[in-house]
Symmetry: C2
Subunit: 502 residues, 2 copies
Amino acid sequence: MDIRIDRQSAVPVYLQIRGGIRDLILSGRLPDGFRLPPERTLAKALGVNRTTILSAYRELKTDGLVEAHVGRGTEVASQQVLKSEAEPAGPLPWPQLARDGGVREPDPLVRDVLALTERHDVISLQAGLPAAELLPLAELRRVQEEILVRKGPEALLHSPTEGVTAFREALCRHMVPRGIRTSPEEVLVTSGSQQGLDLVARTLLSPGDLVVVEEPSYFGALEAFRSARVRLLGVPVDAEGMRTDILEALLARQKPRLVYTLPTFQNPSGAVLSPARRRHLLELSWRHQVPVLEDDTYSDLRYEGSPLPSLKALDPYGHVIHLSSFSKVLFPGLRLGWIAAPRPLVRQLALVKQTVDLHSGTLGQWIVEGFLSSGLLSAHLARVRAAYRRRRDVLLEALAKEAVPGLSWSRPEGGFYLWCRLPDDVSPASLVAHAAAERVAYLPGAASFVEEPSESSIRLNFTFAPEDDLREGARRLGSALRASQAEPRRPSRSVVGTPPIV
Amino acid sequence: MDIRIDRQSAVPVYLQIRGGIRDLILSGRLPDGFRLPPERTLAKALGVNRTTILSAYRELKTDGLVEAHVGRGTEVASQQVLKSEAEPAGPLPWPQLARDGGVREPDPLVRDVLALTERHDVISLQAGLPAAELLPLAELRRVQEEILVRKGPEALLHSPTEGVTAFREALCRHMVPRGIRTSPEEVLVTSGSQQGLDLVARTLLSPGDLVVVEEPSYFGALEAFRSARVRLLGVPVDAEGMRTDILEALLARQKPRLVYTLPTFQNPSGAVLSPARRRHLLELSWRHQVPVLEDDTYSDLRYEGSPLPSLKALDPYGHVIHLSSFSKVLFPGLRLGWIAAPRPLVRQLALVKQTVDLHSGTLGQWIVEGFLSSGLLSAHLARVRAAYRRRRDVLLEALAKEAVPGLSWSRPEGGFYLWCRLPDDVSPASLVAHAAAERVAYLPGAASFVEEPSESSIRLNFTFAPEDDLREGARRLGSALRASQAEPRRPSRSVVGTPPIV
């Protein structure tokens, strides 16, 4: 048998021999039933140890290429090529071919609402979008023209997986007001914060791992974690953010691989994690050696009150992974976000990102770099903060006017959303139906929970719709709520009151 | 105990009870050692079956929250909160935290070459890049200005996960010359073909699955498959493309989940799958019910000969997943590619893409749509085809002039690369060292193989470097090869010639 062995190859010799014999069998040079030489004979001929041949034959057996028979030695296995016609058995069963659990259909209620937002007569308080008419398009043109003159074709070619270096430098300066001092080597540019979530999940999490999330939490993050097939543990959020006392009790009994939090203007609740809880959360992270993923997407959009340092700013030990995005403050369509984390983790995330999409869009990175370095982003932020504050107040006032009994809502100091608790006598499904009739859309609260929540809520965005639409949207929502309340039906939540045993 | 049960919830009652008791324990309302009521008592109090309580208690035991003791019933487990100081045990061991096998360091030889290409005095024949100086920047400006006027902020906002509808329509028209008739619902826009590969791997493959690839193959695809932790089976490529006879023998014994092929201007070999083998490959796919992933990234770059229909064009049964990209023919930095596949698969891929990065860049999709619909891409393709053909011929001539004994190479009819077999007395590692001294870079062949290949090869790109650089690059490569040959050293490949047993 013509088998070549390269003793300086990184491939073990037994695998080289396996490969050589496999090629001889597959190319037909060793026919069905051909008896391979006894291990000892082949070992001598190739000048290798007998155990090497034994290992090679064992691999070939696993490959289904040879069979061992007592008394007859090792023979090439019969090659039962199916002699059927070239007609296929039928079309491929694609849903069955999808790997088990890899694909989840979206929540039907969310799907209904998304279908609703595509109608042009609907006022959408659903999406987490910035105000379209305030997007700085003229500045975009100017910045891009300057880039094309200065960088030429380079701005349209490939760029490093970690991100354009000048952009990462600008991101470091951008994080200083958050209290973060870091270097470009500790920054990874991502295709939006969604990719950041997915990369962290792919890099740090294995199926079955435990991940702590807030309840409610950002539903896109829940989806990314579910797609990594981890077990989610919810910790409730109150007016001061995540209940770190409950997290502490949980960490005493469980070993999660990650704690995911949105400490500032939490999506969807709008809550801000208090300074005391920030410290508590970090102490828990240090003590239990569990990394904290800080999703800091909204902190640049504060309308009142004093800014708080980010978790990463308070963490000298490098346990915090800081995640952020330009989708809420600039152009969502450019798909740009970033991660700031310790260098060894950035290195690993970059290796994963390379197989995922090579790198994020080069031109987009140069455009946002231009906005950051020229001060155009700061000017834009000042403008939208003023507008969003007014829009928040308009929606708060309009909701108050509706006076739906049992409806309550948050008054956030920043961010994108009001979080509304529904009256007990309103079922989520009935409200979606009446909202469709009234032509208004919102995000049903259940999407933000790990398990079915005990109370029903909805999330209302106040940044996308202009002020008149916010007023009209609140009016339509009020009508839908009242219609839902007036509906003759048994309550959807038959709460069983139990006699106190304790 | 205050436990609420919602009988209309989708959450099973036993999990609701588990959740209620868990919250009572974690919030401290049920202290350590507290004895839970006997199953029968609680079942009666809550008006549920006793087995429901049994199930709830079993879950709580799995959660580590309660312990069962013979004779004492079920008690709240002791809550051993670590009372250590807030000092962490040390920085987190990030590489150890990364999920097992998730991150591979790049091949050291490839890394050396990449480091080399960052030097400005080096002529790079390494990367798979289009000619930078031919990129149509003026047209880009015009197209984008027209979009911003016509679409306004919409071009910078979010867009559907599947891709901008007008862009998908344009892609359908773009595929007609490939023989493909399809509809926008069967098209998914991806962030480059790399994301297409990753999405297919994530959607269809589970760890341990078998995937057939050509040897050599596109190394970025091998990385994407390895990252999905599948087993790769190599089928050799010759001048007519994949050896479908060997694939047939392999399919008789193995059940791969996917066959990955680059049928036209194969990367790196430049081979074109012959019409007979195209038919044979499809027959095998139909007969064995195995999907074929057709990577058709280079077919628009044919410099001579007649175009062949794509595999998808020849497949009436929907077994072929067609993958392509704009990175070789337009702007790589925009990160845009696409998949054309049966509708149920596109639906599943889109659900995965949604958790991965929501959608690809909106502005980029409108820009490429503009190039497609206005005919600007066709005009650009005509221009670069002429230039690349000249560059290919320049590199072929220059290589021939070098007259390095034992060096041989392909003469491709299209695409981006020459594939060169190295002389037997040149070791890959020694050549990289001499090439660095001579200031020329290429792709080492081993990166394109599943296992260490028996022959050494290199891939030379002829589209990025201008003609003078190609001539000078070939000269430097010739010097490096001769220096490598002249080096006094034992041959790196100690091939053991074995006496023929067969």
